[in-house]
Subunit: 241 residues, 2 copies
């Protein structure tokens, strides 16, 4: 059965995001090379980021503050003020970076909007996400733009209720098993996983968690967003379960 309503994740589904974090992290590792080994720097940064999610939430400002804390701590208070300024600037550059749509995002969303209700459901920093949505040129295709603080089953349930959508008629498209796929299947919806070439450590599922999700009949996997319309056509021609 074809879903009446499609949800789209944004970062790393409609436009690039993790690659900017990845690039900045490489600069950060280089900056701290005098003080620690690359592996230690990366591990410490991920640890600080995860510990700080409870107070910072998701997004570039928290990432920047975590880099600053790691720099101070791993350098034993030796990091220079000039280096701190550099880190602050990296964060600003990331926030100002133009939106780069993934290949085919625009035409796929436009064509799907013709016969589906579309929701954009994105996690993170309200101000930055709003700016990117507006810059992407895709906003008009969506019935609702939902920037949420966390992507858990309760949040999806709330968003769907707000738009009067039953989970059984909803299908989510996104790159994160943890945020876009598992919670949607948990509330009775379906989901299409379109992996991005990079995944932030915090979003990673271990082998068993991933297997449990991918075994679900409500889970689909595609290698590109441009294949979504074809999958939906196929579902339509299948007998209703």
């Amino acid at each position: 059965m074809r879903p009446a309503v499609l949800g789209f994740d944004a970062d790393d589904t409609l436009w690039d995001s993790e690659s900017h974090f990845d690039r900045t992290e490489s600069l950060f590792v280089e900056l701290l090379t005098p003080f620690a080994e690359p592996d230690e720097i990366r591990a410490q940064l991920l640890a600080y980021e995860q510990q700080r999610i409870a107070i910072y939430g998701f997004g570039i400002k928290g990432f920047t503050l975590s880099m600053i804390e790691v720099a101070v701590d791993l350098s034993n208070d030796e990091i220079s003020a000039a280096d701190i300024r550099e880190i602050v600037r990296w964060g600003q550059s990331m926030l100002e970076h133009p939106v780069e749509l993934v290949p085919g995002a625009e035409s796929t969303v436009a064509s799907l909007a013709a016969d589906h209700r579309l929701l954009l459901i994105t996690k993170g920093d309200l101000h930055h996400q709003r700016r990117k949505v507006s810059e992407s040129g895709l906003a008009a295709h969506f019935e609702g733009i939902e920037v949420v603080a966390e992507k858990d089953p309760a949040t999806y349930r709330e968003v769907l209720e707000r738009h009067s959508v039953r989970p059984s008629e909803f299908m989510m498209v996104g790159n994160s098993l943890r945020s876009d796929i598992a919670p949607v299947i948990a509330i009775g919806g379906r989901a299409i996983h379109v992996p991005y070439h990079l995944t932030w450590g915090h979003e990673q599922f271990d082998h068993d968690e991933a297997n449990a999700i991918t075994a679900s009949p409500d889970h689909f996997s595609l290698s590109s967003i441009v294949e979504v319309p074809e999958l939906l056509d196929r579902l339509e021609s299948e007998p209703q379960q």
Copy 2:
């Protein structure tokens, strides 16, 4: 005429916020005393905050990053890593600070919820605002919790449309002429200004702007949130205009 729907601002209307910024700013001024005069430090911080709103949006993380930048710049790169750590910690303490309701907020909101639809409309950091709403214990009184990136006429129009509310039946309660009062009157609603004892520089209206707003028949002013029910009773007994 009594409004059917009431909007409430949150920071400095239902709970304290600016006092935490103010306290941290005093610590910051003290920290930078070796490098600059207090007035220069305060002016530079406000200037950086305002210049960075376009990329950071509103909230404590952006404030913290601005303090760090000012510290590096005003100290001519002399500020120590230990002092930078201190600034990062201040930001974390602010984010973790327990919600302190303004006197009478709880009983006033509870009593108004009995015969009005209530919306909470707050600007700023999604994650932090959600945490405060949840911790405040007030969430259940509100039909909708709207965390918005900017409080301008377009945003209020959008929020009211989403809840199927006509501006003429809506009244906003808040502490900021710029964010809570002027834009609501601009779209045809009414608004009650309940000033807080502190106002962030960015929110301040100049004399002429303030006069234009306070001259409007749709503007009301009270010294405490507990006076709102009485004002609404008075409006009800007045003939419809």
